[in-house]
Structure formats: structure tokens, C-alpha cells
């Protein structure tokens, strides 16, 4: 008997999959949610970003063409070189990046990387990403400054809105809710444990 058969034989697999599916669906009805203040999801999301738990900064631009200028604003504020890890996403690469040193793969000590988020969630201040040919994952964890482009229309209230929207069957979905941090030494919080130390969200109003 294989290990698989041995384990499953002890579990007497139930064949009434319709009943199981109905029970599983019932467990999602009217979930007891954490309360949220009233208001526009965009405002709530931006408020959440500035809370200590997320401690992200943000900027708003009218349309995507203004993105390079917004990135310059951010890099200049930190006196960083105009060097950027930019994913090979046509929506981003076709913009006018004159004056930038761009690269598609991240260096081990990458200073700044830009990424396009799939959604923003007001409940938790989470940014939702998916992997794909235009969206590598690693730069968003290697960089010190994580810059995220988020269309205003992609901001939702609850995590459920993201999950129920029908996500693509990609290799990985990841939710970023703040910067890399640790409390592993004497419980004291340190920013930038392994991944980004700074998170900056650029909301595109007319996307």
C-alpha cells in the first residue's frame, strides 16, 4: 500500500462532494468582518497606508503618463540616483523614461523597483500582485524602496472583493501590506528585515 493510499484509507474519503461544496459555501455567508469606517474606499485605503502598521507614503497622479515624473519626485526626495528596476510591462515601458537608467532584473542590492499592482484593499492597506511574463516577483522583495503603481479604479474595500473577482491562475499571487519588518530580537520592531524598507504607492486617478 502506498503512503497515499494508507493515509486516505484512514480518512474514508466522502464521496458526497455536492454536500461538501454546499457546506463550504455556507461557511462564507455573512462573515463576521472587522469594522471599517464609512467613506470612499480610495480615501480609506490612503488613510490606511499612512498608519503605523503599513507606514507607506503615497502620491497621486492624473494619468499614467505622469508616472516617470512622480518617480523622479520620490527618488529626488531620498537623493537617490535615477536608476530603476522596471518590469517588462508595456504599460510601463512605453512611458517616457528619459534620464533614467532602467533594468528589467533586480541586482542583489537593488535600490528601487517599480511594480504595477492588481488591486489595493482598504481594509488592510494591502497591495495585490500577480506574477506573469510582464511581472517578475523577485525585484519587489530585493529592493530597498518598493514603488507601486495602482490605478484608482482598482481600489476595493475588502479582501473578499479581490478573492471573489476571479483571479487568474498564475504562478503566484502575493499581498504586500507594508514593509519588511521583524520583532525577532527582544521583540523590538526593525524595518527592512530582508525585503523593502520603504513602500511608496502612486495612485493613478484616470487609469
Amino acid at each position: 500500500m502506498t503512503a497515499r493510499d494508507a493515509i486516505l484509507s484512514r480518512l474514508a474519503a466522502d464521496v458526497h462532494s455536492e454536500r461538501i461544496a454546499a457546506e463550504a459555501a455556507a461557511l462564507l455567508v455573512d462573515p463576521p468582518l472587522p469594522p471599517m469606517p464609512e467613506g470612499d474606499p480610495v480615501d480609506l485605503f490612503l488613510d490606511k497606508l499612512s498608519e503605523a502598521a503599513i507606514s507607506a507614503t503615497h502620491d497621486r497622479i492624473g494619468n499614467i503618463a505622469a508616472l516617470p515624473a512622480a518617480v523622479v519626485r520620490y527618488l529626488d526626495k531620498w537623493r537617490l540616483p535615477h536608476s530603476l528596476c522596471l518590469p517588462p510591462d508595456p504599460a510601463l515601458t512605453e512611458l517616457d523614461w528619459a534620464g533614467f537608467e532602467l533594468h528589467a532584473t533586480a541586482a542583489p542590492d537593488e535600490t528601487a523597483a517599480l511594480a504595477l499592482a492588481l488591486a489595493g484593499v482598504a481594509e488592510t492597506g494591502s497591495l495585490v500582485f500577480e506574477t506573469g511574463p510582464h511581472a517578475p516577483m523577485l525585484p519587489n522583495f530585493l529592493c530597498l524602496h518598493h514603488l507601486v503603481v495602482l490605478p484608482q479604479t482598482a481600489i476595493v474595500t475588502r479582501l473578499e472583493s479581490v478573492v471573489n473577482a476571479g483571479l487568474q491562475p498564475v504562478r503566484a499571487h502575493y499581498w504586500v501590506s507594508g514593509v519588511s519588518g521583524t520583532t525577532d530580537i527582544e521583540g523590538q520592531y526593525v524595518r527592512g528585515a530582508h525585503g523593502p524598507r520603504y513602500l511608496h504607492v502612486i495612485v493613478v486617478d484616470d487609469a
Partner: protein
């Protein structure tokens, strides 16, 4: 491990002047933060009911969900392996590493990995292992075991961490601050994660309807350990399944609040299979090792409720015993109340019968458990089993026999009780007893309160008479 070994470990813990400070610092902070998070979530008790119901539903239909997970993980390109025992699981992981020609693996903290002894198995196989969670990195350098399931290095002071980093890091910290030490670990570990051949993780959740594996971290070390290597291996207990991502969302809400008081962890990732055609990064192979190691037995026996556990650590943060003795004293992989329930199952009741007794049954663990595991009831179950199987020592058996003899003779019992109480009261000094024949175990590390009035029955009669 024997009873004497447990007592020795407790003695050692109680004699460590730094441990209590370290425990209060980390567990105390977690306790306070959880209280704030729960106060801000008026429906939290309902959320706990729902979380328990989701887990119970999965455990009741575990065979169905395992088959569903297997089919969907395979469809996503992952390979699924089944392991009955810890040894079988370790062998599978080592075989996969060998087949991949792996010289080094990056491991993202997983309690299941600790449970099955994976660090040791990799070492024995001559495969270099880099622990990437900061706390696991610290205890790897110190060659110790985790003392908490969320903060494995909570027993270490900053001075001890500093010494370890100076001894082992190529480019250690220049100043004595916790931030500088974290930076030193960042420098040290980054290259190793990027150079690893295999990334190994556990799973916080297995998503049945997509075949995905979910990890949560605040450091981002899971992603940095699992994306660059050519092979990703997941070792997960079979109870980690949830039906869908939507169910996982609900579990994540109670998990993060119970563990750290946060609304969500910084990084929550769902990995479904290896890299797709055209993808810029991600492993070429993904393996999921589904580990039983006693879980089917727990489910079919008296410990099914324990399979709800989502490893948040709230029970130990709130346990007055854990807060005194810390995690190492428990002797198993899992400390605290949940560990006292799991360890006898995993490592045998006979050498671990003391764990069920090292509990006041005050019920704090059950009050804070996000999935409402009746931990005190399960601990009592182990006490009963230990008694039934004759594992209790002769001193305990005869003392209980004597008590049973008296308690069946109420008049005599009350007489002996009230005389005893008066004697104890006279024996005490300023209301406290610090020396007591036959009760060394109690008074060695703390004083016993001297009885103040009459017995319970005497007071009961007085109060009733007064009405």
C-alpha cells in the same frame, strides 16, 4: 526524556534570571497587542466560531479535500508526495534535494519542518542549510531549538545575538543596536538565499480548490527563499487545508490578530506550481510533501479538535506556566498549552506525562484560541489516559488513593481538613508558607498561601446560616 528531565529543565528555566525578562518582553507585548486588536473587532468571537467551523468542516472531510488539493496542485504543475511518518517525509525531502544536485537549501521557518526533524535530516545528508527567518537564523547559529512557534529566539537577549553575529557573520554590525544587528543578518543572508539550490517552506494554508500553498511572513524571507532557487519544496501537515482562498482570508484575519495583533501579515503569498512559460522568475520544480505523522490518528481518536490549530502562539503567550518556564522546558517541538497536547501524541505519553500536569487549568489558552480548541479538556484527557495506562508514579497513585478513601467518608474528611487547615495556618509566617514537608516541589520556587479561615464547608455553612 523522563519526568526527572522535565523537572531539571524547569529548574534551569526558573533559575535563569534573563529568561523571565525575555518572556515578558516578547509574550507580554504580543498579549497586549492582541488585546487591542480584539477590542477593535467587536465580532471577533463570531469570527473565532467561524474559523473553528471552517477547520471542523475540513477535518470532517479531510480525505475529500486532500484529493482535491492533490488534483489541483498537479494541474498547476506541482508534484505531490505523501508521507506517513516524520522519517518518510524527511527521506522524501532529502531525495528531492539529491535529485536536484542541491548543495545548499534556504529554509523559511516552518514548525512542521521542526516537528519532522528536517534540519537534522538535511545535516545528516550533508546538505547545507540556511535558515532565513531572523529568529531561526539566530538559533541555527546558537545550535538550539525554537522556544516559541512565532518567536523562536525569544529567549535570546540582544547581547547574546550580538555575540553570535560577531562570531559568524562575514561583515558584522558596527554598532550595538538591534537595527544594526538586523542589517548584519540582511547582508549575510541575502547572498545565501540568492545562491541556494532549493527553497524549503511549510504552509500556513493549503488551498484545495487551486492547489496553491499560502505562506505568511513579516520579513519577506519566505519569498526571498522560495523564488530564486530552482526547486521549491513544501512540507505541510495534512490538516493545513482550507477549501478556497476566500476561506483562507477568514483564517488570516484571526491568525494575524491572535499572533501579533496585526490585521494582516506584511507578506501573504499563494504559490501555485512552478514557473509558467514566459515567467521571469520562480522555481522550475515545485514539490508538496503532505505529512500525516499522527494526524489521521488524532482525527479518528480524541484529538480531532487539536487539528484546528493554526499555530498562532496565543495560547502560550497567555499561559502563566509558559510565561514562567519558557519554551525549552517543555522538551518537544511545540511548547505551551498546544505543545502539551501535541507532544504526548508526537513523542509518546510516557516520557511526557508531566506536560499535562504542568497546567493550572485556568482556561486562558482556550479563551484566546482563535479556533476555540478546548485545550484544558484535551490536557485533562491526557491526564486520564496517563492514569488509565498506569503511567502515574506510585506516590501519586497512593496519594490519590488516600484522598479517595477520605473523600468517601465526609465527616472524617471535614475533620481532617479543618485540623489540617489550622495546622497549616499556624505553620505559615505572615500568611505564607515557604517550607512544607512532602511539598518541596510546590514551595521550592514560590510560597504557598497559608489557609486564612475555616474550610470551604465551614464557610458555606456559615454563609447559608446567615441568610
Amino acid at each position: 526524556m523522563s519526568t526527572a528531565a522535565f523537572a531539571r529543565r524547569v529548574d534551569k528555566a526558573l533559575g535563569d534570571p534573563l529568561l523571565k525578562v525575555a518572556l515578558d518582553r516578547t509574550a507580554g507585548t504580543a498579549e497586549a497587542k492582541r488585546a487591542v486588536a480584539v477590542a477593535a473587532y467587536p465580532g471577533f468571537d463570531d469570527a473565532r466560531d467561524r474559523a473553528a467551523a471552517i477547520k471542523d468542516h475540513v477535518i470532517a472531510n479531510l480525505g475529500h479535500y486532500l484529493e482535491q488539493l492533490e488534483a489541483n496542485a498537479k494541474a498547476a504543475g506541482a508534484r505531490v508526495h505523501w508521507a506517513r511518518t516524520a522519517d518518510e517525509a524527511c527521506r522524501m525531502v532529502v531525495d528531492i534535494c539529491r535529485a536536484a544536485g542541491a548543495k545548499s537549501v534556504a529554509r523559511s521557518k516552518s514548525m512542521l519542518g521542526e516537528e519532522i526533524g528536517l534540519p537534522h535530516a538535511l545535516e545528516a545528508a550533508g546538505i547545507g542549510r540556511v535558515e532565513t527567518d531572523l529568529a531561526e537564523h539566530i538559533i541555527q547559529l546558537a545550535d538550539e531549538r525554537p522556544s516559541h512557534i512565532v518567536w523562536p529566539a525569544m529567549h535570546k537577549t540582544r547581547e547574546q545575538v550580538s555575540d553570535l553575529f560577531r562570531a559568524h557573520h562575514r561583515e558584522p554590525h558596527h554598532e550595538e543596536s538591534i537595527a544594526a544587528m538586523a542589517e548584519s543578518a540582511r547582508r549575510e543572508l541575502r547572498q545565501r538565499m540568492l545562491g541556494a539550490d532549493v527553497g524549503i517552506s511549510g504552509a500556513n494554508f493549503l488551498i484545495a480548490d487551486s492547489g496553491a500553498v499560502c505562506t505568511v511572513t513579516n520579513e519577506g524571507n519566505a519569498e526571498l527563499s522560495l523564488v530564486p532557487p530552482r526547486v521549491h519544496i513544501v512540507t505541510a501537515g495534512i490538516e493545513k487545508i482550507v477549501p478556497s482562498m476566500a476561506h483562507a482570508v477568514h483564517m488570516l484575519r484571526v491568525l494575524a490578530r491572535s499572533a501579533t495583533g496585526a490585521a494582516i501579515t506584511q507578506y501573504t503569498t499563494f504559490y501555485a506550481g512552478p514557473r509558467r512559460s514566459g515567467d521571469r522568475d520562480g522555481p522550475e520544480e515545485m514539490h508538496i510533501v503532505l505529512v500525516d505523522n499522527g494526524r489521521t490518528e488524532m482525527r479518528n481518536g480524541d484529538l480531532a479538535e487539536m487539528l484546528r490549530c493554526i499555530r498562532c502562539g496565543a495560547c502560550m503567550n497567555h499561559c502563566i506556566v509558559f510565561r514562567q518556564i519558557g519554551g525549552h522546558a517543555y522538551g518537544g517541538t511545540y511548547p505551551g498549552p498546544m505543545g502539551s497536547v501535541l507532544t504526548p501524541q508526537l513523542d509518546g505519553l510516557k516520557p511526557n506525562r508531566d506536560l499535562a500536569h504542568a497546567c493550572t487549568l485556568n482556561g486562558r489558552c482556550q479563551e484566546v484560541c482563535p479556533v476555540r480548541i478546548p485545550l484544558p479538556t484535551l490536557l485533562r484527557g491526557w491526564r486520564e489516559k496517563s492514569w488509565r495506562e498506569g503511567l502515574e508514579p506510585i506516590s501519586v497513585r497512593s496519594a490519590l488513593g488516600l484522598w479517595a478513601w477520605f473523600v468517601r467518608r465526609p465527616r472524617l474528611y471535614r475533620l481532617v481538613g479543618s485540623v489540617g487547615a489550622r495546622l497549616l495556618s499556624a505553620w505559615g509566617r505572615r500568611g505564607w508558607i515557604s517550607k512544607l514537608p512532602l511539598a518541596d516541589g510546590w514551595v521550592e520556587h514560590r510560597d504557598f498561601p497559608a489557609p486564612e479561615g475555616g474550610s470551604f464547608m465551614a464557610q458555606y455553612r456559615r454563609q447559608r446560616g446567615g441568610r
